[in-house]
C-alpha cells in the first residue's frame, strides 16, 4: 500500500492507495509548520481506513513549498552567485534580468571569474583559483551560507565547477554549494538562474525534508518516502535537500496525472481548482503537455522542462467583489477557515457563494443567507466564464475536449462549459493531486554529447535509450514497466565528428512489495 500526500498552499491532501484503488482520502488545512498538517492528514487516512502504519510500503509527497518560497520571496538565503567564464560572458552579468525585489532578497552577491570551456572541451581560460579563494574570503566575511557555481559549457565539462566547489567547501566549511551542471541544461543564463534559485533554498529544503520525516515517523511510518518532481517522477529525500528546484511545478503535474488516472482518459483538459488559483493544462496520453518556451518562475527565466499550465486567479478562497462581477485574483488562502463568511469571518469568498447557492454544504450556511440572489447569480456566472475562457485559451484547436474537474475547489464549477465536450467530475477528484503523487514514477535520464560519425542515428539513440532505461531501473523502477518518455537531440554545430547532444528520459513504476492478497 502507498500513501500520496500533496501539500498545497491551502490544503494538505492525503490518500491511501492499494494498487489503483483508493482506500481512504482526506483533506486538511495546510499549517504554517507544514508537518502538523501532514500529521493530521496522515492520522485521518490511517484511522479512517484502519491500515496499520507497518502496512505502508512507500509515501510520496508533492509540495509547492519551494515554488511558493521563491514567488513570495520568503525564507530565502542570500547567495553567492559565482560565474566562471571571463573574459567571455561579461556582457550579461548574473541576475541581470531578475526582478529587483528577488535579486535584493538574495543580496546581489555576484562574482565573475576567468575560466570556462569551449563547446569542444578546450579551456576559454584556466580556472582562476586565486579568484575563487578571494570569493571564499568575501563569502566568509559576509557570512553567506550558500553559493551557486556556473561555468561555461559545464554540461559538457564539469571540472571547473567541481574544482571551484572543492575550494569553497575547504575555505567555507558547511557552505551549501549548488552546481549548475547538476540542475540545468545547455543555455547558460537559464541554467545559472536555476542554480542560484536552488542555492537560495538550500536551508529551507533541509528543514522541509526534516519536517516531512518527523511527521511520518510520528505516525509510526518507517517505509521510505519520496518527493515528486515536475516531470511526474520521484526524488529521494536527500536528493531534494540538494535540488529543491526540481520540485517546482510538481503540483500541477501531480494534479493532471491524478486526474487522468481517476477519469481513466489520457487526452483531455484538466482544471484544478485550488484555494487561490485554478490551473488549466492539457493532458496528452496521461502526461501534461510541456511548455515549449523558457519558463518564468517568480519573474526569472529558467530552462526546466515544465508542464504548460495557465493559472488564473480563481479558487475557493478568492474574494468576491462588485456584487459578483469581479472575483479574485487575491484570495484569503489558508486563512479561509477564519476569514470566509461561512466560517465566521467577514470576507465574501467564492466558497460563500456556492454555499449560499445551495451547491455545497460547507461551514455555517446561515451566515450567508443574506447574500442577494442577484450577487449569487452574477458571481456564479463570472466563475464559469473565467474557467471557460481559460480552457479555451489552452486548447490547440476549436475541437471540444472533455474537461476533467479536480481539486478542492471543484465545487465552484457546477454547470457545463461551452468550450468542453463534457465536464467530468471523477470520484475522489478533491485529492487528485495526492493520487498523482502516489502514482508518480521513477525516472532515469541520459544527457550527453555523442559522436555520431560512423554510426547511424538509430544506433546512437538505441544506446541512449538503453542507458536511460537502465538508470531508471537502478533508481528503483520495476524492470518491465520502463518506457521512454522523451527524446531530445540537438547537434552542436562546428563540433568535429558530428557531435550531438542527446537527452533521453525513461520512466517506470516504483518497485513495490504490495501486500499479497
Amino acid at each position: 500500500m502507498r500513501i500520496g500526500i500533496d501539500v498545497g498552499g491551502t490544503n494538505t491532501d492525503a490518500v491511501i492507495l492499494e494498487g489503483d484503488r483508493v482506500i481512504a482520502a482526506c483533506k486538511s488545512p495546510t499549517t504554517e509548520d507544514v508537518s502538523s498538517g501532514i500529521s493530521a492528514a496522515l492520522a485521518t487516512v490511517l484511522d479512517e481506513s484502519g491500515v496499520p502504519a507497518a502496512a505502508v510500503d512507500a509515501v510520496m509527497i508533492g509540495t509547492t513549498h519551494f515554488t511558493n518560497a521563491v514567488v513570495e520571496r520568503r525564507r530565502l538565503l542570500q547567495v553567492a552567485a559565482v560565474r566562471i567564464g571571463l573574459p567571455a560572458t561579461r556582457g550579461v552579468p548574473p541576475m541581470t534580468d531578475w526582478p529587483a525585489d528577488l535579486a535584493g532578497a538574495l543580496g546581489r552577491h555576484t562574482y565573475m571569474l576567468r575560466g570556462g570551456h569551449e563547446f569542444d572541451g578546450r579551456e576559454i581560460a584556466p580556472l582562476d583559483e586565486m579568484g575563487v579563494l578571494e570569493v571564499a574570503k568575501e563569502i566568509r566575511a559576509k557570512g553567506l551560507r550558500s553559493a551557486a557555481i556556473t561555468s561555461v559549457f559545464s554540461p559538457v565539462t564539469a571540472v571547473m565547477e567541481l574544482r571551484a566547489a572543492e575550494i569553497l567547501r575547504e575555505e567555507c566549511p558547511g557552505i551549501a554549494v549548488s552546481l549548475s551542471h547538476e540542475i540545468g541544461r545547455v543555455g547558460f543564463l537559464e541554467r545559472e538562474n536555476a542554480a542560484i534559485m536552488n542555492a537560495c533554498l538550500a536551508e529551507l529544503s533541509v528543514k522541509v525534508v526534516a519536517s516531512f520525516r518527523t511527521a511520518l515517523r510520528g505516525k509510526g511510518i518507517t517505509a521510505p518516502f519520496f518527493i515528486s518532481q515536475n516531470d511526474g517522477t520521484l526524488m529521494t529525500p536527500d536528493h531534494v535537500e540538494r535540488y529543491p528546484v526540481l520540485t517546482f511545478a510538481s503540483g500541477p503535474t501531480n494534479s493532471m496525472r491524478g486526474a487522468a488516472r481517476l477519469a481513466g482518459i489520457g487526452d483531455a483538459m484538466v482544471v484544478d481548482v485550488g484555494g487561490t488559483t485554478s490551473d488549466v493544462g492539457m493532458l496528452m496520453q496521461g502526461f501534461p503537455r510541456e511548455s515549449a518556451v523558457a519558463v518564468d518562475i517568480g519573474g526569472v527565466r529558467t530552462n526546466f522542462r515544465m508542464p504548460d499550465v495557465l493559472a488564473i486567479g480563481l479558487g475557493g478562497g478568492s474574494r468576491v467583489r462588485e456584487q459578483g462581477m469581479r472575483i479574485g485574483p487575491d484570495s484569503v488562502g489558508y486563512e479561509i477557515t477564519k476569514d470566509a463568511r461561512v466560517f465566521g469571518g467577514d470576507t465574501l469568498t467564492t466558497t460563500d457563494i456556492v454555499v449560499a447557492a445551495g451547491l455545497a454544504i460547507i461551514g455555517d450556511a446561515s451566515r450567508v443567507a443574506d447574500i442577494p440572489a442577484a450577487t449569487i447569480d452574477s458571481a456564479l456566472a463570472t466563475m464559469h466564464r473565467m474557467v471557460d475562457e481559460a480552457v479555451d485559451r489552452m486548447k490547440t484547436s476549436a475541437d471540444r475536449l472533455p474537461v476533467i474537474l479536480v481539486g478542492g475547489g471543484a465545487v465552484l464549477i457546477s454547470r457545463d462549459l461551452p468550450s468542453a465536450s463534457e465536464v467530468i467530475r471523477p470520484e475522489n477528484s478533491g485529492v487528485a493531486n495526492a493520487i498523482g503523487a502516489a502514482i508518480a514514477q521513477v525516472g532515469g535520464e541520459v544527457d550527453r554529447i555523442y559522436a555520431m560519425e560512423g554510426r547511424s542515428r538509430e544506433e546512437v539513440l538505441d544506446e541512449a535509450r538503453a542507458e536511460a532505461s537502465a538508470n531508471a531501473v537502478a533508481a528503483g523502477a520495476a524492470e518491465g514497466s520502463v518506457k521512454i518518455m522523451d527524446i531530445e537531440e540537438v547537434p552542436l554545430a562546428y563540433l568535429p565528428g558530428s557531435a550531438t547532444r542527446i537527452r533521453v528520459k525513461a520512466v517506470g513504476d516504483l518497485t513495490m512489495k504490495e501486500a499479497a492478497e
Partner: protein
C-alpha cells in the same frame, strides 16, 4: 528615432520571426543592449534615406552557432574590436553601423555597438531575414565586397580577412570562428551611404519592431495574433503573408553537416489541415513540402509559430508534440532578382526545386 526598452522587447520578437527559425535567440543581445539603456546610453536608429552618400557604414554581427552563443555569452566588446580593426585597415572612422542580417541575434549586435560607440544604426540590413552564410547578402549581390573583414573573440584576438571574393571570405572566416570557439564577432561589408541606399534591404529594424508590437498588442487586446500579423504585413515591403499549415510536430530530425545544423521537421495537420508537412532546415527553414508538393521555398520566409501564443519558434527549440502554425511571407523584390537568387536561391542550398513566389504557390 531613439529606441526604448519596449522597442527592444518588440524587436526581439520580430527578429525571431524574420529569422525563420534561425539566427539565434535575440534574448542575449537584447539584454546587452538593455544594459546600455540602463546606463543612460542611447540607440539611435536612422532611415537609410537620411544618411549622406559619403557616410562610412561598417556593419557588425556575430557569426557562428546559436548553441554556442546561448552558452558562451559574449563579453560585449568583441564586435567593437572588429569594427576598430576595420577602421584601422581602412584608415577612416565609421560614421554608422548596421546589421548584416535582421533575423535573431544579429539584429541586436549593431545596436550594442552603436550604443557603446555613440554611432547611429542604419535601419536596414543585407539579408532581409536570416541566412546561414556571409556571402548571402544583398550587399554582395549588388557589388559591395565583404572584405576586408575583421573577426574577433572575447580575448581581443582578431583576424583580418582579405579574400578575393565573398565566398572565400565566408570559408576563411568560418574556420577562424571555429578556432574562436564556434562563435565570433565580425565587421564586414564596409560601404558608403550611397551603396547602402542601392544595396540594402531598407527599414528592416523598424519592421522587426513593428512585427513584435503587432503581436504584443493583439495578445493584450485578446485579438487573434495571427490575423493581426497577416493584416499588418501588406503595409510593408514584405507585402504578402499567408498561413500555409497548422498541426503538431510529429518528428524532428537533426544532424550536423559541414558545420551547419541540418534538419527536417514533420508536422501532422489537424483541424482543416490534412497530410504531412515536411520542412527542411539548414540553420533556417528552407522549404515546406506538403505530401511532397512545395508550399513555400527560400528566400521567402517560412516561420513556425506556436499555435496558441503566436510566439516564433526557432529550429533549435522545435520539438515533438508542439502545436504550430506555419506562416510564409514574401521577401522584397530586391531579394528575388535572378542575381539575388544566384546567391541565396534554392539551388544555393542544394534544393532541386526552382524558386516560385509564395504568392504563386498559395494562389
Amino acid at each position: 528615432m531613439k529606441l526604448d526598452s519596449q522597442d527592444l522587447a518588440d524587436l526581439a520578437v520580430g527578429a525571431a520571426f524574420l529569422g525563420t527559425g534561425g539566427g539565434g535567440d535575440p534574448y542575449i543581445g537584447r539584454q546587452m543592449v538593455q544594459r546600455c539603456l540602463d546606463e543612460g546610453l542611447s540607440v539611435d536608429l536612422v532611415d537609410p534615406d537620411e544618411i549622406g552618400d559619403e557616410a562610412l557604414v561598417i556593419p557588425t554581427a556575430m557569426m557562428g552557432a546559436p548553441t554556442v552563443l546561448v552558452e558562451k555569452i559574449p563579453s560585449g566588446d568583441e564586435a567593437i574590436a572588429s569594427l576598430r580593426q576595420l577602421e584601422q585597415r581602412l584608415g577612416r572612422k565609421a560614421t554608422h553601423t548596421m546589421p548584416i542580417e535582421i533575423g535573431g541575434i544579429n539584429s541586436t549586435i549593431p545596436l550594442l555597438v552603436g550604443a557603446r560607440l555613440g554611432l547611429p544604426v542604419v535601419d536596414a540590413d543585407g539579408m532581409g531575414r536570416a541566412f546561414p552564410e556571409l556571402q548571402m547578402e544583398t550587399f554582395g549581390v549588388y557589388g559591395v565586397p565583404g572584405c576586408p573583414m575583421a573577426v574577433s573573440n572575447e580575448w581581443g584576438d582578431c583576424a583580418l580577412i582579405e579574400a578575393t571574393d565573398n565566398r572565400m571570405m565566408e570559408w576563411l572566416s568560418r574556420g577562424v570562428a571555429i578556432r574562436m570557439g564556434g562563435a565570433a564577432y565580425i565587421a564586414e561589408y564596409a560601404m558608403s551611404g550611397a551603396e547602402v541606399k542601392r544595396t540594402a534591404v531598407p527599414r528592416t529594424l523598424s519592421l522587426a519592431i513593428q512585427v513584435g508590437r503587432v503581436l504584443r498588442e493583439a495578445r493584450s487586446d485578446h485579438r487573434n495574433p495571427f490575423e493581426a500579423l497577416l493584416s499588418f504585413m501588406p503595409q510593408t515591403l514584405y507585402s504578402y503573408a499567408t498561413i500555409i499549415y497548422s498541426g503538431k510536430v510529429a518528428d524532428m530530425q537533426r544532424e550536423t553537416k559541414n558545420g551547419f545544423s541540418m534538419g527536417r521537421a514533420k508536422i501532422e495537420g489537424f483541424g482543416s489541415y490534412h497530410g504531412l508537412m515536411e520542412i527542411e532546415i539548414q540553420n533556417e527553414n528552407l522549404i515546406a513540402r506538403l505530401d511532397g508538393e512545395v508550399k513555400a521555398i527560400v528566400p521567402d520566409l517560412i516561420c513556425i509559430m506556436d499555435s496558441e501564443t503566436a510566439e516564433p519558434i526557432t529550429t533549435e527549440a522545435l520539438r515533438y508534440g508542439q502545436r504550430v502554425t506555419v506562416i510564409s511571407v514574401s521577401v522584397p523584390e530586391i531579394m528575388r532578382t535572378p542575381e539575388a537568387l544566384d546567391v541565396f536561391g534554392p539551388a544555393c542550398f542544394g534544393l532541386p526545386e526552382p524558386y516560385t513566389k509564395i504568392e504563386d504557390l498559395s494562389a
